[in-house]
């Protein structure tokens, strides 16, 4: 079922729950990986994903379809992630520990990491990037979103996103060269 039909079903009386269940099933996997690559920990990703859907459930009656449903969900998830990271960074600032180092440690201990040495080096290199650059890189590199879609989600111009992605890619290659 496409997004338009899902939204029509959601607006039918007594069908909201069923329609929303279908939305969750359709987008949970994509949103989970988007969040997971930012926060690394599965528990944090799970909490943030559930919060994303709860916020979407509360706001969906007012959704005016000015953007695509999946773009809208991505935006909610991204905002959740950024708020979460800000809080974590503030805490790590107060405890005088580097938050990207903390994320590296989480990656090292992650029981759900199944990649090889090169993939681990790539993840570590991505973690060394500033968070917004990291989001842009992940959306383009792993989720294969178009720049126009990323622009709609983040509210940044396509030109700035292209520049950001190329900077990130260059930094990652340099970092990986050192790591391997």
């Amino acid at each position: 079922m496409d997004d338009k039909d899902l939204l029509i079903l959601f607006r039918e009386e007594g069908k909201e729950r069923h329609a929303f269940d279908l939305i969750v099933r359709k987008y949970s996997e994509r949103l989970y990986w988007h969040i997971k690559k930012m926060v690394i920990s599965h528990d944090d990703a799970n909490d943030l994903l559930q919060n994303t859907f709860i916020k979407a459930w509360n706001a969906l009656p007012e959704f005016r379809e000015e953007s695509k449903l999946f773009t809208w969900l991505y935006r909610i998830a991204t905002n959740e992630v950024l708020t979460f990271l800000k809080k974590k960074q503030l805490r790590s600032f107060l405890s005088l520990t580097d938050y990207s180092k903390q994320l590296e440690n989480v990656l090292e201990a992650d029981p759900y990491f199944n990649g090889d040495k090169t993939q681990k080096a790539l993840q570590k290199a991505i973690l060394s990037l500033p968070e917004k650059q990291r989001i842009v890189f992940n959306m383009r590199y792993f989720d294969e979103l178009k720049y126009e879609e990323i622009s709609e989600i983040l509210g940044t111009s396509v030109g700035a996103l292209k520049a950001s992605y190329h900077h990130a890619a260059k930094k990652i290659e340099e970092a990986m060269q050192k790591l391997i």
């Binding site: 729950r17 269940d21 199944n114 090889d116 290659e173």
Partner: protein, 136 residues
């Protein structure tokens, strides 16, 4: 010499992470459960009750402290006795009539009956005094 890293290699783009078994299958149910849970409305009484209890406790403690200080401070007891001499007298008389028995105090509390003949006799003997007293 190290080989140059190319991040566009398709193998690198593969997702290196996994999830716990049946995670995505159970997620929809978990979200549905959270949506179903409607937080109970908190009434104004439940909000104000603990605050009221706290304020009452402070008031009780304050008045108990104030009462204790007022009652057991010697200066204030003295001050009180000066302000209400009659009350103190009554209190002392009722608390221990024997210890504080005094002819003078006794004269204040007992009314002596005077024989009318005695009054007539007094006026007759000291009539000049009555006359003098009536002159302006």
């Amino acid at each position: 010499m190290k080989e140059k890293i190319n991040i566009d290699h398709p193998e690198l783009r593969k997702n290196p992470f996994t999830v716990p078994a049946n995670y995505f299958e159970n997620l929809a149910e978990a979200v549905d459960e959270k949506i179903s849970y409607v937080a109970p409305k908190v009434g104004w009484w439940s909000v104000i009750k603990p605050q009221l209890a706290l304020v009452s406790t402070f008031c009780i403690i304050f008045f108990m402290g104030y009462g204790a200080i007022t009652l057991f401070t010697p200066d204030s007891a003295k001050k009180n006795s000066l302000q209400h001499p009659n009350q103190l007298e009554e209190y002392l008389l009722s608390s221990s009539s024997f210890d504080f028995y005094d002819e003078e105090i006794d004269s204040l509390t007992t009314i002596k009956k005077i024989d009318p003949d005695q009054i007539v006799e007094y006026l007759r003997d000291d009539a000049s005094l009555v006359y003098l007293a009536s002159i302006k």
